[in-house]
C-alpha cells in the first residue's frame, strides 16, 4: 500500500496554483489571530518594497487554530491587495494557507514549509513568527536578501538583546556550537530565519522529520544540516525582538535545545570530529547589540537550585561525569554563595562529558539532558554574580573567553567521544 503523503490535497492544489516562486515566507501559526495582522503587514510590505519583480508567496501553516487565524490570513490578503493596487510590487503576492494537523508542531510546520519551498522551487525562504509583536518590513528583507542576493543557504537572525536575555545561548549553546561545528553563528534556536531552496530540498530528503529533536527545534537542525553540509551560512541583524512570554521553563528549553544539539552532534559526527577551529561567517548589520537595561534573574534562587540539584542527582551525575569533574562540581556546590565561582574550564569540561555520555548512552538520553539543568544553573549563577553590573563590552569579552575555552578543550571531547566503552 502506498505511503500516505503528509501534504493535503487542498494544500497541493494551492501550491499548484502558485507555481514557481523566487521567494517564500512561511508563517507558522496556532491561535495567533491577535498578532497575525501586524506580522502579515510587515511581510507584505517588505516584499512590496524590496522585491518588486520577484515571484513571492506567503505561506501560512497552521496547527489547528480555533480562533480563526487562517480565515484572518486569507481575508487580510484580499484587503491588502486592494489597498496597494499598482504601487510597487509588479507581481501578485500569493497567499496560501494549510492546516497540517490539529495540534501545533514546529517540526510539522517546517516540514510543510520546506516541502512547499521544494515544490515551488523557491530560491529564498524565510520563516517568520506571528508572535513577534514588533516585526517590521526590514526583518523580512534582512533574512531574505542574504539568501536571494548573496547565495547564502542559511541566515540566522541577530537580535538586539538586553544583557539578561539569551543567557542560555551566551553561556552554552553558542560557544559549544561554535567549537563543535566551527562556525560563529550566534543564534540558531530562533523563530525567524532565512534559508535557501537548496537547503530546503536537502532537508526534505532526510528521513528525520519524526525524530523528537527535529520536531522540537527543526530550525536548529536545519542550521546544523547547512553547516555540516558545507553550505554557506551567515547571520543578519534584525533588531530587538518583542514577544509575549511563552511560559516555557528552563528544563523544557534545555530539553529542546541541548537535546536537539546533542542529537545533531550524534547524527553529524563526520562533519565535526576532525574540525579544530572556528571561522566567522558573513554577517549583515551589527554583529551583536547588547543594551544595559533588563533586570537580572534572582541569583539566590538559581544558586539554591544548583546546589540541591548537584546533591539530588549525585548518582546520575556520577554516571555521566568523570570522577574528577564530578568531585570539583560537588566542591563548588559547597562553597559560600558570596564567593561562588564556577570556573569556565570546569563548565566546559562538564558539558563535553555530558555530550560524550549522550553519545555512549550511559543512561536515558532525555534524563541525561535534564541532568544538565542544575549544572547550567551553577554556571549561570556564577556568570550573574560576576557580571550583574558589567558593561556590554565586558560581557562580550567574557563570552569570547568561554568560546575559546570550548574550542581549547574540544580535543578532550573528541577523546571521550571516541573512547570505547
Amino acid at each position: 500500500m502506498a505511503e500516505e503523503s503528509f501534504l493535503g490535497d487542498d494544500f497541493l492544489r494551492q501550491l499548484m496554483s502558485v507555481g514557481e516562486v523566487d521567494l517564500l515566507v512561511g508563517v507558522p501559526t496556532y491561535n495567533n489571530a491577535s498578532t497575525l495582522g501586524q506580522t502579515l503587514y510587515g511581510v507584505e510590505e517588505s516584499l512590496r518594497q524590496n522585491f518588486v519583480r520577484e515571484r513571492a508567496v506567503i505561506l501560512n501553516v497552521d496547527g489547528g487554530s480555533t480562533d480563526e487565524t487562517r480565515q484572518l490570513f486569507m481575508q487580510s490578503a484580499e484587503r491588502s491587495d486592494a489597498g496597494h493596487r499598482g504601487l510597487t510590487s509588479l507581481r501578485t503576492i500569493h497567499r496560501i494557507s494549510c492546516e497540517y494537523g490539529t495540534a501545533p508542531s514546529h517540526g510539522l510546520a517546517l516540514h510543510n514549509i520546506v516541502a512547499a519551498a521544494d515544490l515551488l522551487r523557491a530560491k529564498a525562504c524565510a520563516v517568520i513568527s506571528p508572535t513577534t509583536t514588533n516585526l517590521t518590513p526590514s526583518w523580512v528583507v534582512n533574512l531574505l536578501r542574504p539568501v536571494y542576493r548573496e547565495s547564502l543557504d542559511f541566515v540566522a537572525p541577530l537580535y538586539a538583546r538586553s544583557r539578561f536575555q539569551g543567557l542560555l545561548a551566551r553561556n552554552l549553546l553558542y560557544p559549544m556550537r561554535r567549537a563543535i561545528f566551527g562556525q560563529r553563528i550566534r543564534e540558531i534556536y530562533c523563530e525567524e530565519w532565512g534559508f535557501s531552496g537548496r537547503l530546503a530540498s536537502q532537508c526534505l530528503e532526510k528521513d528525520v522529520w519524526r525524530e523528537e529533536a527535529v520536531r522540537a527545534r527543526p530550525e536548529a537542525w536545519m542550521a546544523i544540516t547547512a553547516i555540516g553540509g558545507g553550505l554557506k551560512c551567515g547571520q543578519s541583524f534584525v533588531g530587538p525582538k518583542m514577544a509575549p512570554p511563552t511560559g516555557t521553563d528552563i528544563v523544557e528549553i534545555i530539553r529542546q535545545t541541548v537535546g536537539n544539539f546533542l542529537w545533531c552532534m550524534e547524527t553529524n559526527q563526520p562533519q565535526w570530529l576532525s574540525r579544530s577551529d572556528s571561522q566567522p561567517v558573513p554577517t549583515f548589520g551589527p554583529d551583536h547589540e547588547l543594551s544595559l537595561d533588563g533586570i537580572p534573574p534572582s541569583q539566590e534562587k538559581i544558586f539554591e537550585l544548583f546546589r540541591s540539584g548537584v546533591s539530588e542527582l549525585e548518582p546520575i551525575l556520577a554516571s555521566i561525569l568523570a570522577q574528577d569533574t564530578h568531585a570539583q562540581i560537588k566542591a563548588v556546590a559547597l562553597s559560600d554563595r558570596s564567593k561562588f565561582h564556577f570556573p569556565l574550564a570546569l563548565w566546559v569540561r562538564t558539558v563535553y562529558e555530558f555530550a560524550a555520555s549522550y553519545h555512549h548512552t550511559v543512561l536515558n538520553r532525555d534524563h541525561l539532558v535534564q541532568a544538565l539543568v542544575p549544572l547550567y544553573r551553577g554556571q549561570l549563577c556564577s556568570f550573574l554574580l560576576e557580571h550583574a553590573n558589567a558593561s556590554a563590552e565586558a560581557m562580550e569579552a567574557q563570552s569570547e573567553l568561554l568560546c575559546r575555552e570550548f574550542e581549547r578543550q574540544k580535543p578532550y571531547l573528541v577523546e571521550r567521544w571516541k573512547l570505547k566503552r
Binding site: 492544489r13 496554483s17 499598482g86 510597487t88 509588479l90
Partner: protein, 566 residues
C-alpha cells in the same frame, strides 16, 4: 464622395456555425473593425523609385482582404519635409508626390471600399510643419493675418513647468523665431509649431481640411496629439476643458454632415483622463488605450495577470457608442509614459537591455524581436489583442513576425519596407537597393529571405496563416467586439481567464501567461451545464458541472471556447 458598399445584413459564418454576424447599426462599424496600421511609404513601391506609394498599396489590397482586416489606418501621406515621418504637415489637402497623386489616393480608397475595407487617415491637428504656408505667413510679420494662427510670445517663460514630450531632443516647449523675433510654442519638435486653437479661424481652417477628406470618402480620422490643443497659464497645458469643447464642435459638425464617420483619439494618458475624451458620447468615438499596451507585455514577462487586471479594473466605463482601441505595437516607440518608474525599469531591463533599443520614454522594437521570435508568445499576445475588449490594431508586418533595426535612428527601425518575398528588395520595390527610403531588414533571423509574405502564404502553419485564422474567428463572433467582459479569478495567477458575453453569445478565454505548463481550476458555476467548444478546432470539451472546471495549458497556450447550452 465614396462610400463603403453596404454590407449584407447577414454575413455567413466562415466556420458555418450558427452565429451569423448581424450588422444592425452600420454607424458603429468601428466597434467591429480589425484595423491594420500601415505607412504608404513602407508598403509597396509601384514605380521603382524606392518609396512606397498609393498605387503599390492598392495592389496589395487583396492581401489585406485575405488577412481578414476590415479597416486600414494610414500614417500621414501629405506633403511634408518629413522631419517627423510626415507628422510635420506642410499641406493638408494634397498627397506627398513621392506617394502619388490625389487621384491615386482616391483610386486606393475606392478599391479598399470595394473590398469592404474602411480607411482611416491621420489628422495632425495640434501642429503643422514650420514649412506650412500658414506658419510661413505667420512668422513673416507680426501684423500678418495668419500671425495669430500660432502661439507666440516675447518671452520663453510662459507656461513654465509644462512637460517636454521629447526630452533630450528638445530643451524647451518654446523656440526662437529669428524672422519675427519672438518665441513660438511647440509641444513636439521645434519644427512643429502648435496651432492656436483659441483663434476661431484656425478651427474653421481645420474643419475645412476635415471636410475635404470626408468628401473624398475617408471613413474616419485619427486625431494626433489631441490633449495639447489649448494652452493655459498655470496648467499642464493638456486635457483642458477648452480642448474638449473644440472636439465636441468637430464632432457635432461631423455627425450632422457625415454620419457614420469616426474620430479616434491619440491621447497618451491614464484611463481616467482618456475617459474624458469620450465625453457623453459626443467627443471621440474611439481612443487608444495606451496604458494597457505595456502591461500586456509586462504580464507575459512577469508571468502574472496582475498588470492587465489592474489596468482594466482602473479603466472607467465608456458610453455605449464608444470603443477603446487597443494595440501591441505601432510606428512609434513602445511608450512607457503611462507606467510607474518601477515598471519602466522592468520593461527596459526585460525588453530593451541594449540601450540602443530605448528612445524617449519607450522602446523602439517590433513585436517579434521583443518576443525573441517565440511564436507561442507572439500568438499569445495577438490572442489577447483580439479577445480583450476593444478594437484591435495590427501594425503592418507583425502578422508575419517582421524584425526591426534599432540602429536606423529615431523610430525608423520599425518602419522598414514590408517584406513580401525573398527576392529583389523583398518584393517591395524594383529600385536599386541603395535607393530605398530605408534599408531592408536583412539579418539571417528576421531578414526578408527568412520572413516574408510569400513563404508564409505557402505554409498552413505559418504565423501569417495563424493570424488569418484567428482574425477570421474573431470576425465571426460579435461578442469579441461588442461583448462585456467578466474576469474569472482562478487562484493560479499565471492564468488570465475571462468570459465575454453578448446576449446569448458567450466566449470563455483562458490564457497561460507563463513559459511552463499550467493547470487551472475555473469557477464556472454561472455557466453550469454549458458545453465549452474550442473555437479553432471546434472540439467539444467536458460539460461544465458542479466542480471547478479543470484545464491544463501548455506554455503560453490559450483557449477560446464558445460556451453553448445545448
Amino acid at each position: 464622395m465614396q462610400n463603403v458598399p453596404a454590407p449584407p445584413s447577414v454575413i455567413s459564418n466562415p466556420q458555418q456555425e450558427n452565429s451569423a454576424l448581424i450588422l444592425q447599426d452600420e454607424n458603429l462599424w468601428y466597434k467591429d473593425a480589425v484595423i491594420y496600421q500601415l505607412h504608404v511609404r513602407t508598403f509597396c513601391d509601384s514605380n521603382g523609385d524606392g518609396v512606397g506609394d498609393f498605387r503599390g498599396l492598392t495592389g496589395k489590397l487583396d492581401y489585406l482582404q485575405e488577412l481578414g482586416i476590415n479597416a486600414v489606418w494610414l500614417l500621414p501621406f501629405y506633403p511634408s519635409p518629413l522631419r517627423d515621418d510626415g507628422y510635420d504637415i506642410a499641406d493638408y489637402t494634397s498627397v506627398l508626390p513621392a506617394y502619388g497623386t490625389l487621384q491615386d489616393f482616391k483610386d486606393f480608397l475606392a478599391a479598399a471600399h470595394n473590398r469592404r475595407i474602411r480607411v482611416i487617415t491621420e489628422m495632425v491637428v495640434n501642429h503643422t510643419s514650420d514649412q506650412h504656408p500658414w506658419f510661413q505667413e505667420a512668422r513673416s510679420s507680426r501684423d500678418n493675418s495668419k500671425r495669430d494662427w500660432y502661439v507666440w510670445s516675447d518671452t520663453d517663460s510662459r507656461y513654465q513647468g509644462v512637460r517636454i514630450i521629447f526630452p533630450g531632443t528638445e530643451m524647451s516647449n518654446w523656440a526662437w523665431d529669428p524672422i519675427s523675433k519672438s518665441y513660438y510654442w511647440h509641444r513636439f519638435f521645434s519644427h512643429q509649431p502648435d496651432l492656436n486653437y483659441d483663434n476661431p479661424a484656425v478651427r474653421e481652417a481645420m474643419w475645412e481640411v476635415m471636410k475635404f477628406w470626408l468628401d473624398t470618402g475617408v471613413d474616419g480620422f485619427r486625431l494626433d496629439a489631441v490633449p495639447y490643443l489649448i494652452e493655459r497659464e498655470g496648467t499642464s497645458c493638456a486635457n483642458l476643458p477648452e480642448t474638449h469643447e473644440i472636439i465636441r464642435d468637430f464632432r457635432r459638425r461631423i455627425d450632422a454632415a457625415y454620419p457614420g464617420k469616426m474620430l479616434l483619439a491619440e491621447a497618451n494618458q491614464r484611463p481616467a483622463d482618456i475617459r474624458s475624451y469620450f465625453g457623453n458620447g459626443d467627443e471621440f468615438h474611439m481612443a487608444f488605450h495606451f496604458p494597457l499596451m505595456p502591461r500586456m507585455f509586462m504580464a507575459v514577462k512577469l508571468e502574472d495577470r496582475k498588470p492587465i487586471i489592474e489596468i482594466l479594473e482602473q479603466t472607467p466605463q465608456i458610453p455605449d457608442t464608444c470603443q477603446w482601441c487597443i494595440f501591441l505595437r505601432n510606428h512609434d516607440e513602445l511608450t512607457l509614459e503611462m507606467v510607474t518608474d518601477v515598471e519602466r525599469d522592468y520593461m527596459y531591463d526585460e525588453y530593451a537591455v541594449d540601450k540602443a533599443m530605448r528612445i524617449y520614454l519607450g522602446i523602439r522594437r517590433r513585436l517579434a524581436p521583443m518576443m525573441e521570435n517565440d511564436r507561442r508568445r507572439m500568438e499569445l499576445l495577438s490572442g489577447l489583442l483580439l479577445s480583450l475588449p476593444g478594437t484591435p490594431v495590427i501594425y503592418y508586418g507583425d502578422e508575419i513576425g517582421m524584425g526591426d533595426n534599432v540602429y536606423l535612428g529615431d523610430r525608423n527601425g520599425v518602419r522598414t519596407p514590408m517584406q513580401w518575398n525573398g527576392g529583389w528588395n523583398a518584393g517591395f520595390s524594383s529600385a536599386d537597393p541603395e535607393r530605398l527610403y530605408s534599408p531592408l531588414i536583412s539579418n539571417p533571423v528576421y531578414g526578408y529571405q527568412a520572413i516574408n509574405v510569400d513563404s508564409q502564404r505557402r505554409s498552413a502553419h505559418s504565423l501569417l496563416s495563424w493570424t488569418k485564422s484567428v482574425i477570421q474567428t474573431r470576425n465571426a463572433f460579435r461578442v469579441f467586439s461588442r461583448g462585456s467582459i467578466e474576469f474569472l479569478n482562478p487562484s493560479n495567477h499565471r492564468v488570465l481567464a475571462y468570459v465575454r458575453c453578448l446576449g446569448e453569445e458567450k466566449v470563455l478565454v483562458v490564457n497561460n501567461l507563463s513559459s511552463s505548463a499550467q493547470a487551472v481550476e475555473l469557477n464556472l458555476q454561472a455557466y453550469k451545464k454549458h458545453i465549452p467548444i474550442e473555437m479553432f478546432g471546434r472540439n467539444l470539451f467536458p460539460r461544465i458541472g458542479d466542480l471547478p472546471y479543470l484545464l491544463t495549458l501548455g506554455p503560453y497556450q490559450f483557449y477560446w471556447f464558445r460556451l453553448r447550452r445545448i
